[in-house]
Amino acid sequence: MSLERWQQILREITGVPGVRGALIVSAEDGLVVAESAMEHVATSDVAALAAALVVRARQTAHVAHGAPPRSVHLAASGGVLLAMAGPDPLWLVALADSRAELGRLRVLLGDFAVSLA
């Protein structure tokens, strides 16, 4: 898939009301692979933190269930971080505020994540 198509996917995700930004990260090293504009936060920070969370979630899932996760959803009082596994080692990540329609966002991320290949 082309970088242009990746950017189109990220634009569609950030078009969902409440989404502050979206990016594609490498979970191996926490680096940004592709990004959309992110409000009030550095995309490199989001990428590094999302990757660290994914690695921890993967370790816990492996110990408890012997299998890797395909999504990680962190909910907080001021917003959410959603990450969906794409082709290894890529993860599609969105940062959203509390107003975002989470069901819609999860479906969208899930559909796009598998099409990143």
Partner: protein, 251 residues
Amino acid sequence: MTDPPTVSPTRPQGLAFLELGERLRQRGQLEAAAMVATAGLAHYPALADAHDLLGRIRADQGEDAGAIAAWHAALECDQGHVGALKGLAFVAFRARDFSAAERYLELAVGESPHDPSLLAALDRVRATQPAATPDAAPALADLSSGLLLFDAQGMRLTGGVGPGTSADTADAASAEGAGLAREASRVTRLLGLGEWQYLLVEGTEFRFAVLPIADGATLLVSRPGTTPSGRLLAMASRAGIAARHWLERLT
């Protein structure tokens, strides 16, 4: 009418004892069936089907504790043994522990997703559960509960990660879970997201929620992938209340 089958408890021939034991059970000859199953297990102690047979016999005898022990033994041999999971669900349902029955049936459906009898049983249990036990306290102190409470040092306080799993697995999951909880707290703080409320991790065949319970204590609620995410979060919320009460009694 044919003669009853000859029972030779000390020398089961291959795995034919499974069929013989089941036939005896169905005829109501429970003592003879138990002898056949027990003798078979002496030769095949790692055979999940044999433990499952003994579980069914014990359940028919009204010995629920023996049935549960047999089915847990079956799960130790084969973590996804559908017969054992169905049996445990049946005993739980009979004891009106509907949440446990639901949990075992969910696991069975995960192993055999197209079995209409399992799906119907799961629907029946789910339909029964809200009216019968609106405030049922989750069984925290049970390795098979799928409820795991641990402290900030990654030490297990109580619970486990689900049926057929060991204390060692629960201890290892506690250690990893504490690291995951620390990471969740760090991410929300550094991204200015406020206090973290829960973390939902989903795989193809599992989902688990991790949520902070009190200072330093975290709860991990684990369910099969067949459990809807919203339902898991509702369970986690109820289990969180039970975990806080558990901690209060501890201190």
